[in-house]
């Protein structure tokens, strides 16, 4: 399915809620959108739109208004409208942001909207996130339990036990919504797309810290590569742009300590 179809489907699925701009109490904002229409031209171009906004207009509302009222050729991704699906990431004046969590009232003057940096652009604001998904899969971001699963016994059901203290160890790092903003913020990922990157390293750390998990050994082999934790130079912009306050920079640097320990243990074991 191509991205146009995805966008079209999402728009039609929720078109009732898209035209939410209140026509009372509005002002007009000027926004520029970086367009790329590979069917017409290999060149990108800036397109200008003037649209009515009020205090509650999010950038996603604005894009939906453009799509429905001004220019149906504009492509972008969105789904939930409440910062949980992670689909509507774009660059706003050069800073990666979620469209639904960005309000136009916070911007004076021109607003420039571009596709997320460091990802290949497919069309307009739609980027190809394949490399991010590959990095995510490489660190096995799921519970790994080597013990064979016993048949379910309704008389004595066995569940994972975890104390609030054990939960607190990883909880913050579990809030990632895979939006990719941290990859657009990371200059090291921009220089080297093979770098596993902030979100994948954070999720690896999240599962390494989970008391129910036994997959740390498998993940450390990925983390302790040049393209693993060691490509991070602690710029810290990933933690600034994260819409869920996950703090990937802290997770990656705690991952460096773990990778160093892993290496020491490997050296002594031979």
């Amino acid at each position: 399915m191509n991205t146009d179809q995805i966008t079209a489907k999402r728009v039609s699925a929720d078109s009732a809620s898209t035209n939410s701009i209140n026509t009372n109490n509005t002002s007009t904002k000027h926004i520029s959108v970086k367009r790329y229409l590979p069917d017409n031209s290999a060149e990108t171009f800036w397109q200008e739109y003037d649209l009515p906004v009020d205090d509650s207009t999010s950038l996603l509302d604005a894009l939906n208004h453009i799509k429905e009222q001004l220019d149906s050729t504009l492509s972008y991704r969105w789904s939930c409208r409440m910062a949980i699906c992670g689909s509507c990431g774009v660059m706003v004046n050069g800073i990666p942001k979620l469209g639904c969590k960005t309000f136009l009232r916070d911007y004076e003057g021109d607003i420039r909207i571009e596709p997320l940096a460091h990802f290949p652009v497919q069309r307009d604001l739609v980027v190809d996130m394949e490399i991010f998904l590959e990095h995510l899969a490489a660190v096995k971001p799921y519970l790994i339990d080597d013990n064979p699963v016993k048949p379910y016994d309704p008389q004595a059901p066995e569940t994972y036990q975890q104390s609030p203290e054990q939960l607190a160890r990883y909880k913050q790092f579990a809030n990632c919504i895979n939006c990719g903003l941290c990859y657009s913020a990371c200059p090291q990922f921009g220089l080297n797309p093979e770098f596993l990157g902030p979100a994948a390293l954070t999720l690896a750390h999240r599962y390494n810290l989970d008391s129910r998990d036994h997959g740390k050994k498998q993940r450390m082999a990925e983390l302790n590569r040049h393209d693993g934790v060691w490509s991070c130079t602690f710029v810290g912009f990933c933690s600034k742009v994260c819409p869920k306050h996950v703090d990937p920079a802290a997770a990656v640097n705690q991952g460096k300590v773990e990778a160093a320990k892993h290496t020491l243990i490997a050296l002594f074991k031979g």
Binding site: A221, N224, H226, A260, T263
Partner: protein, 128 residues
């Protein structure tokens, strides 16, 4: 599957924890010790705000050419050198100058060479 596993194993960065450890230790020394050292040796002493004999030749050489002197040079020269080398290596990568493999050898090699020189002078003075 096995090939992928070998491939991953093959690319393990066994040297990086060492460079990062030296970088971290150097950063602590840079932040904690160097301001005091600069204040005493490069500001207070030349301004004559310390007693003239505070670092007289005899006093300075007996302080330096000793085990504490050896540790002092390690902490204020050698570790900060590795800290700087690490920053330079990553800075060069950031501005796409040279290759990382060569930069690594030049930067850490330079830091190691200067460290050996600095510590060598201390040891030579100690044995004199």
């Amino acid at each position: 599957m096995n090939m992928h596993k070998d491939d991953v194993q093959h690319k393990q960065a066994f040297d990086e924890p060492l460079w990062w450890g030296l970088f971290s230790a150097g950063g602590v020394c840079f932040a904690v010790l160097l301001p005091a050292v600069i204040l005493f040796i490069a500001v207070l002493l030349p301004l004559g705000l310390l007693p003239a004999e505070a670092l007289s030749y005899e006093r300075a050489s007996s302080l330096l050419f000793s085990v504490p002197g050896f540790l002092f040079i390690g902490a204020v020269v050698c570790l900060p050198l590795f800290h700087a080398a690490h920053r330079l290596r990553h800075g060069l990568f950031d501005i796409s100058v040279g290759s990382d493999a060569l930069n690594k050898k030049l930067m850490y090699g330079g830091a190691a060479l200067l460290s050996v020189l600095a510590l060598g002078i201390v040891v030579a003075g100690f044995l004199r």
